[in-house]
């Protein structure tokens, strides 16, 4: 007896690197996930978060009205679509960043939970399934909270603070936000030994292979990917000149200062420069003072030979880019992980 096979359409990903077949009308987001390709998403496929953008290079239909507010004109012109709203009824070809092929879903447990400052939490996740992770220093994961107090489980992005050489887990730095669903769960509900799941690694923020001197600027939990990169550079016996600026309001906002100063002996030419913008004169602080942008300008008035690595809030990144450009650094050598 013959069985009728359900019709499928072919999705060609990155020029034949992977070809999957899905039922017509299935969203790209769901179809890709069922075939082991996990595109980032925070809203579960409701055209709300805009994280699941893919480039449709063949077989595209115009974007839906629901997609338009989440796509810029240049993105639309370039063929970008939201994977959650793209439901092919014919064969389709898409392009995604190559690193998404190595994204997996992970289960783990909280091995250590520590308060790093009054509003920053350090979480160490020990992997249980699979038991190891491969990533590049500078990348991030998307962690899932559990439902609590009637709130839905949510997905949020966090940079990995641990180095790739420690493949048995990941360390995260999480800053408490007043009304944050995930952060309140992490601070107030999550305990050592609890299960946690995440997907990753995501992102293209990483150290280049060049020999150019590096200028790192970060604030608050923006230190996480920088710390991962620095530990990786130590392991690789990097001999590049590195100047690392860490901006904070006051001494109570500083953390990992001792570990970072230690790298001044662990790396060939490394200097760590913490700077405080609102520390009282009476606080005994003898280090740099002022906005981090002013401190960078004062210490490195000519940035033209450097590569810059920035991680922090959009305001900090934008201000840094403006200053670095004024100090002679071309855009092409400014790399950043903007918290947006």
């Amino acid at each position: 007896m013959e069985t009728a096979q359900a019709p499928t359409v072919a999705i060609d990903i990155n020029g034949g690197k992977k070809i999957i077949r899905v039922k017509p009308g299935t969203s790209l987001l769901a179809g890709c996930a069922r075939n082991g390709l996990f595109l980032p998403s925070a809203c579960g496929g409701n055209a709300r978060c805009g994280y699941c953008k893919v480039k449709v290079v063949g077989g595209a239909t115009p974007p839906l009205a629901a997609e338009l507010p989440l796509l810029s004109e240049s993105e639309i012109a370039a063929g970008m679509r939201l994977a959650c709203q793209t439901k092919p009824v014919g064969d389709l070809a898409i392009a995604v960043p190559d690193e998404l092929f190595s994204v997996k879903r992970f289960s783990g447990k909280i091995a250590r939970k520590t308060l790093v400052t009054y509003d920053i939490l350090g979480l160490s996740i020990e992997l249980t399934n699979p038991k190891t992770i491969e990533f590049t220093a500078g990348q991030y994961i998307q962690a899932k909270s559990m439902s609590y107090l009637g709130r839905d489980a949510v997905l949020r992005d966090f940079s990995i603070a641990s180095p790739p050489s420690d493949s048995s887990g990941v360390d995260l730095l999480i800053r408490r936000t007043k009304n944050g669903i995930f952060t309140r769960w992490a601070f107030d509900v999550l305990k050592e030994g609890d299960a946690i799941s995440f997907s990753g690694p995501y992102g293209a923020f990483r150290a280049s292979e060049s020999a150019a001197p590096m200028l790192m600027v970060c604030g608050s939990t923006g230190l996480a990917p920088i710390w991962s990169i620095l530990q990786d550079l130590v392991r690789k016996k990097c001999n590049r000149t590195i100047r690392c600026f860490f901006g904070a309001l006051s001494q109570k906002d500083l953390f990992m200062v001792e570990e970072l100063h230690k790298l001044e002996t662990g790396l060939a030419d490394f200097k760590f420069i913490p700077a405080l913008s609102s520390e009282p004169e009476s606080g005994g602080w003898t280090g740099e003072r002022g906005l981090i942008t002013e401190v960078v300008r004062r210490n490195v008035p000519d940035c033209s030979r450097f590569e810059a690595y920035l991680c922090g809030s959009p305001g900090m990144i934008n201000a840094c880019i403006a200053v670095l450009t004024q100090c002679g650094l071309p855009d092409a050598r400014i790399f950043y992980d903007k918290f947006a």
Binding site: K178, N179, G180, G219, S277, S278, G312, S313
Partner: protein, 164 residues
């Protein structure tokens, strides 16, 4: 106008729309507290009451939005350090990772992070986010009383120096 039961009835569609509006403005996976707080008023009434208050004060909504936006930007550029944005009013910005979508469909996403404005003399304060600014700008929605990001129109206008 009579006061008969008939005159108090709302059309079925209006009731459904109000329920939908309360649902989309309530707590969600993006906003733990939602946008209505403990305010028992209909969202439309919150908007019209606030519009009436602004009109009574002689303050143009667009001018208030423009002033708030400039003050927000000034605080963001100060990278967390306090900045005086009007006489006696200090603003402090706190950045946060990620974006939050508007509760209304097809309006895009907005950077997280907030600026807290405080009047030194009285201690009065309110928090402003890019999304709450958008809701005021596009919908005249200052959020319900008790919402963490409710902006009292008269307080904001006074703190921005638009009224005495």
């Amino acid at each position: 106008m009579t006061n008969s039961p008939e005159s108090n009835k709302q059309p079925v569609q209006a009731v459904a729309d109000e329920r939908d509006l309360r649902k989309i403005l309530g707590p969600s996976r993006f906003s733990a507290a939602g946008f209505l707080g403990a305010d028992p008023r209909r969202p439309e009434d919150i908007m019209s009451d606030d519009a009436a208050m602004l009109a009574g004060l002689g303050v143009d909504k667009e001018r208030l939005v423009d002033t708030l936006r400039k003050a927000y930007d000034a605080a963001e550029q100060a990278l967390g350090a306090p900045v005086t944005v009007s006489a006696g009013c200090v603003a402090v910005h706190c950045g946060a990772r990620g974006k939050i979508p508007s509760p209304f469909a097809n309006e895009g996403t907005f950077a997280k992070g907030e600026t807290v404005f405080t009047l030194a003399a009285s201690g009065a304060s309110f928090s402003l986010t890019p999304l709450s600014l958008h809701l005021i700008d596009k919908h005249g929605f200052f959020q319900g009383k008790g919402s963490p990001y409710r902006v009292e129109p008269d307080v904001a206008a006074r703190m921005m120096g638009l009224i005495k």
